[in-house]
C-alpha cells in the first residue's frame, strides 16, 4: 500500500481485495459488546473537515476509536481556519502535534494531495471537491461483494450527476478496476464528456438499463444543478431518472439498490424504494466503519509507532486481524 489514500488510482486490484478482506475481519468487532481492539493504541488520527459531513466524519471517528487510536476532530468553523489560516499552516500545526494520519474532507479537488507536501503522516481522502471519495467507493465495493459474492462481471448502473460526483468517479474507477461492467446513466449534461475513456458505458435511458442490472446505484442530485441550468427542473429530473417503485420493479429480483447518502427521498429515489429489502443503504453505512478501520489499520499499523514505547502491544496489534477473524 501507498502511505496515503488519495484516489482509487493509488490502490491495485490486489490491494483492494486485501482492504476488503481485512474489513471483513474487522466487521465482527462492531457486533461485540465492547467494540474495540487495541490495534492503533497510542496513534493519533485527525479528522480535518473543511466541509460539513457528519456521517463521513462519524464513520471515520468510530473506525479510529474502535482501533483504540486517539481521535481529534478539527472542523473548520470556529477554528483557526475561520480566522484565515491557510491549509499549509494548519497542516504544519497538525504535523508539529504528531498526527499519524489525517483524514481530510475539502471542497477543493486536490487538497489531500497538496496536504501530503507538508505532513509526514498518512493522508486519507474523505472526499475532495469533484475529484474522488475513495473510501466511499471501497465501502460500496465491500457491500456489493458481501451481498452478491463477487465484483467481477457485476453489471452496475451509476445514475445521476456523475459529472460533479466524487462518489460516482471513485466508484466507476474502482468497479472497472475489479472487472465489473459500469453504465453511467443520466442526462447528457451531467455525464462526463470523456466517460468512455474511463472504460464505462453511457446511457440516457434508465428504463432500458434497469432489467439487466445487478446493482442500481443512485447518486444524490443537488438542487444547485437546476440553478446552473444543467437540468430544466428537479421535477423533470425526478420523472426521467428517479428510481420510482415502478422502476424498481423492473430490476431483477436479486438486484441491489444503493445510495451513498444523504438521500433526497422523492427526488432521485422514492421513499418506498429506499425502504425496500433490496435497498442496502444502511448496510453501506455499517460496512463503512469496517472498511475505514481496515484502511487506517493497513496504512498505519505497518508503518511502526511514531513514538517509542508500547512495542509489545504494537507487535500484538499487527497480528490482530487474524485474531479478530478467528473470533479471539
Amino acid at each position: 500500500m501507498n502511505r496515503h489514500l488519495l484516489s482509487i488510482h493509488d490502490v491495485s486490484a490486489q490491494e483492494i481485495v486485501r482492504i476488503l478482506d481485512t474489513a471483513e475481519s474487522f466487521r465482527e468487532v462492531g457486533t461485540r459488546v465492547i467494540k474495540k481492539v487495541p490495534a492503533l493504541r497510542g496513534r493519533t488520527v485527525v479528522n480535518l473537515f473543511y466541509e460539513n459531513s457528519t456521517r463521513t466524519r462519524i464513520s471515520f471517528e468510530l473506525a479510529a476509536k474502535r482501533l483504540s487510536a486517539d481521535v481529534i476532530n478539527f472542523s473548520t468553523s470556529g477554528s483557526s481556519v475561520s480566522k484565515g489560516e491557510s491549509l499549509k499552516d494548519t497542516a504544519l500545526t497538525l504535523q508539529a502535534m504528531g498526527a499519524d494520519a489525517i483524514v481530510i474532507r475539502h471542497s477543493s479537488s486536490g487538497a489531500p494531495l497538496t496536504l501530503t507536501r507538508w505532513v509526514k503522516g498518512s493522508v486519507l481522502n474523505a472526499g475532495d471537491g469533484t475529484h474522488e471519495h475513495p473510501t466511499q467507493a471501497l465501502l460500496d465495493l465491500y457491500t456489493m461483494r458481501d451481498r452478491l459474492g463477487r465484483l467481477e462481471g457485476l453489471r452496475v448502473a451509476i445514475v445521476g450527476d456523475v459529472l460533479h460526483s466524487r462518489v460516482g468517479r471513485s466508484l466507476s474507477f474502482a468497479l472497472v478496476k475489479m472487472g465489473a461492467e459500469v453504465m453511467l446513466v443520466g442526462p447528457p449534461t451531467l455525464i462526463p464528456p470523456d466517460a468512455p475513456a474511463w472504460g464505462v458505458q453511457v446511457s440516457h435511458d434508465i428504463d432500458a438499463v434497469l432489467p439487466g442490472l445487478d446493482v442500481c446505484y443512485m447518486l444524490r442530485v443537488q438542487r444547485e444543478r437546476q440553478r446552473q441550468q444543467y437540468v430544466p427542473s428537479v421535477r423533470e429530473y425526478a420523472r426521467r431518472f428517479g428510481l420510482s417503485r415502478e422502476r424498481a420493479g423492473m430490476l431483477p429480483d436479486d438486484a441491489l439498490v444503493m445510495h451513498p447518502g444523504p438521500m433526497n427521498r422523492g427526488v432521485e429515489i422514492d421513499s418506498d424504494v429506499a425502504d425496500m429489502p433490496r435497498a442496502v443503504i444502511e448496510e453501506q453505512v455499517t460496512n463503512g466503519i469496517a472498511v475505514r478501520m481496515s484502511l487506517l489499520y493497513l496504512l498505519l499499523a505497518g508503518s511502526g509507532p511514531r513514538a517509542a514505547g508500547g512495542s509489545a502491544e504494537e507487535a500484538g496489534a499487527v497480528r490482530l486481524p487474524e485474531e479478530v477473524a478467528t473470533g479471539a
Binding site: 491557510s86 491549509l87 477543493s108 479537488s109 486536490g110 487538497a111 497538496t114 471537491g129 469533484t130 464528456p193
Partner: protein, 429 residues
C-alpha cells in the same frame, strides 16, 4: 553619455536586416557606431549570440497596487536579466491604468528604474468594466500604443467595434484582446479534457477562447481596426488567425513560452505554478502553436509574466490565482524547447521575441536593425549555458512554471541605449 563598448566576435542575429554572421558590434554614445573604437571596453563574445534587445508585449508589473508581488523597478530588472529592453505592463493594476495619470506614474517609475523601456498598456474600458470606453485619446497622448482589458475580453461586440474604430484616428495604435468567453470559461481551473476529468477539476474548453477569437476577427473585418490577439492557446484559434491573415485582415497574435513548452498533463500533481489563464492545453494544441509560430501565423512570443505572492500560490488549486512569471526564463525556454530541437530557427526565435513585437508596438528604437546610428538596444546571450531555474529571482515573486527545470541559454549582457544594464549576467542597477 555611455562609454563605448565593443562586442567582439559575436554571432550577430538580426532578423530586421536578415543578418546572421559573426561580427564585431560597437556601441558608442547610446547608438551603434560604424567601426571599432580604440578606447572601447571590449567583451569577447566568442560563442555568444548578439541580437536586438527582446520586447515583451505582455507582462504584469503589478504597480500601482500590488507592490508585494512586483514593482516596476523589480519587473524591469527581471526583464533586463531576461534580455528584454522593452516591456508592456498590462493595465490591470490598482488603480487600473485607464487614464493618463496612471500611465504617467508607470512611465515615471520606469524612468527612475532605468533598466528597461516601458510601454504601458492602457485599459480599453473604464476600470476594465467593459461598460464605458476609457479616455483612449488622452492615454495615446501620454504614450500608450496598445490597449487591452487583459484578464477578460471586451464583453460586447459593440464595444469592441467602437474601440477598434475609434483608435483608427491614431497611427499604429492596437487593440489587444484576451479571448475568453466568460460564460463558457466560468469556474474553469484548467483545460477541459482527460486530465481535468482525472483531476476532478472544473475546466474550460478551448472553445471558450475560440468563440471570442471568431467574434473578434469578424469585428476586425467590420471595422478595419488593428487587432492583436493575446496568448493564443488553442489549435482552433490558430487556424482562424491563419485564415484571417490570408484574407488580409489587420490582425496579429502572440503565444507564451509556457503554452509552447507545457501541456495539460503538467497539472497532474495540482501544481499551482502550472495554473494559468488561458490554461495549458492538449499536446495537439501545443504542436499547432509551435507550427504557427514557425510559419509566422503567430507573430510574437510574449511572456504574460504574472507574479503572485507565495502564500497565494501555496494554496488549494481552485483557490490559487492564475499565472506564472516568465521574464527571466522566456529566452532560455524558447532556445531549449524550440530552437535546440530544430522546431524554430534561431533567427525566427529572435524575430518573434524582438523584431515582430517591436513592430506591433511601433517601438522604433527596438527590434533592430543593428546598424550604425540605430539605438544600441541589444542582448548578448550564451546559447549553450545550462542552468536550473530556481530562486532567487529578480522578480519579487517566484511562481515560475519552470521551477526546478534545466534550461539552456543564459543572458550575458543587456544593453539599453548603449548602457550595460546587465553585464556578465549581473544587473547593474
Amino acid at each position: 553619455m555611455p562609454e563605448p563598448v565593443l562586442f567582439r566576435g559575436a554571432r550577430v542575429v538580426d532578423p530586421a536586416s536578415g543578418t546572421d554572421e559573426v561580427a564585431d558590434v560597437l556601441a558608442d554614445g547610446g547608438t551603434i557606431a560604424p567601426s571599432s573604437g580604440a578606447d572601447a571596453t571590449v567583451f569577447d563574445c566568442d560563442g555568444l549570440v548578439l541580437a536586438p534587445g527582446l520586447v515583451d508585449l505582455h507582462a504584469h508589473l503589478r504597480q500601482p497596487g500590488r507592490e508585494d508581488k512586483e514593482t516596476v523597478e523589480s519587473g524591469c530588472r527581471a526583464a533586463a536579466l531576461g534580455g528584454f529592453t522593452a516591456v508592456c505592463p498590462m493595465a490591470n493594476t490598482d488603480p487600473v491604468a485607464d487614464n493618463a495619470a496612471v500611465i504617467h506614474e508607470v512611465l515615471e517609475l520606469a524612468r527612475v528604474a532605468g533598466t528597461c523601456d516601458v510601454f504601458p498598456v492602457g485599459a480599453i474600458t473604464r476600470g476594465l468594466g467593459g461598460e464605458e470606453m476609457a479616455e483612449l485619446g488622452e492615454m495615446v497622448d501620454a504614450g500608450v500604443r496598445l490597449f487591452s482589458d487583459d484578464g477578460r475580453c471586451v464583453p460586447s461586440a459593440r464595444m469592441l467595434r467602437n474601440a477598434l474604430t475609434y483608435v483608427r484616428a491614431f497611427e499604429g495604435v492596437v487593440i489587444a484582446e484576451h479571448c475568453e468567453d466568460a460564460s463558457l470559461a466560468e469556474g474553469g481551473q484548467m483545460h477541459e479534457g482527460l486530465t481535468s476529468s482525472s483531476l476532478g477539476l472544473a475546466a474550460q474548453p478551448r472553445e471558450a477562447e475560440e468563440v471570442v477569437v471568431a467574434r473578434d476577427l469578424a469585428v476586425a473585418r467590420l471595422t478595419g481596426g488593428r487587432l492583436h490577439l493575446c496568448h493564443l492557446s488553442s489549435a482552433g484559434s490558430v487556424e482562424m488567425v491563419r485564415r484571417a491573415k490570408a484574407e488580409g485582415l489587420g490582425v496579429t497574435a502572440e503565444v507564451t513560452p509556457h503554452h509552447l513548452v507545457f501541456s495539460e498533463e503538467d497539472l497532474l500533481t495540482y501544481d499551482t505554478n502550472m495554473k494559468m489563464n488561458p490554461p495549458l492545453r492538449a499536446g495537439r494544441d501545443r504542436g499547432e502553436l509551435r507550427a504557427a509560430l514557425a510559419d509566422g501565423t503567430i507573430d510574437a512570443i510574449a511572456t504574460d509574466h504574472a507574479p503572485h505572492a507565495v502564500e497565494e500560490k501555496e494554496a488549494e488549486f481552485d483557490q490559487a490565482p492564475f499565472g506564472t512569471i516568465g521574464l527571466e526564463t522566456a529566452l532560455a525556454a524558447v532556445l531549449t524547447h524550440l530552437v535546440e530541437p530544430g522546431e524554430l530557427t534561431l533567427s525566427r526565435a529572435i524575430e518573434a521575441l524582438s523584431t515582430a513585437p517591436a513592430r506591433i508596438l511601433g517601438a522604433g528604437d527596438h527590434g533592430g536593425p543593428i546598424e550604425p546610428g540605430r539605438p544600441a538596444n541589444l542582448v548578448v546571450f550564451d546559447p549553450s549555458a545550462e542552468w536550473v531555474v530556481e530562486p532567487p529571482f529578480a522578480s519579487r515573486s517566484r511562481n515560475s512554471a519552470f521551477l526546478g527545470r534545466r534550461l539552456r541559454g543564459r543572458v550575458v549582457h543587456t544593453m539599453l541605449r548603449g548602457e550595460l544594464v546587465v553585464a556578465d549576467g549581473k544587473a547593474q542597477r
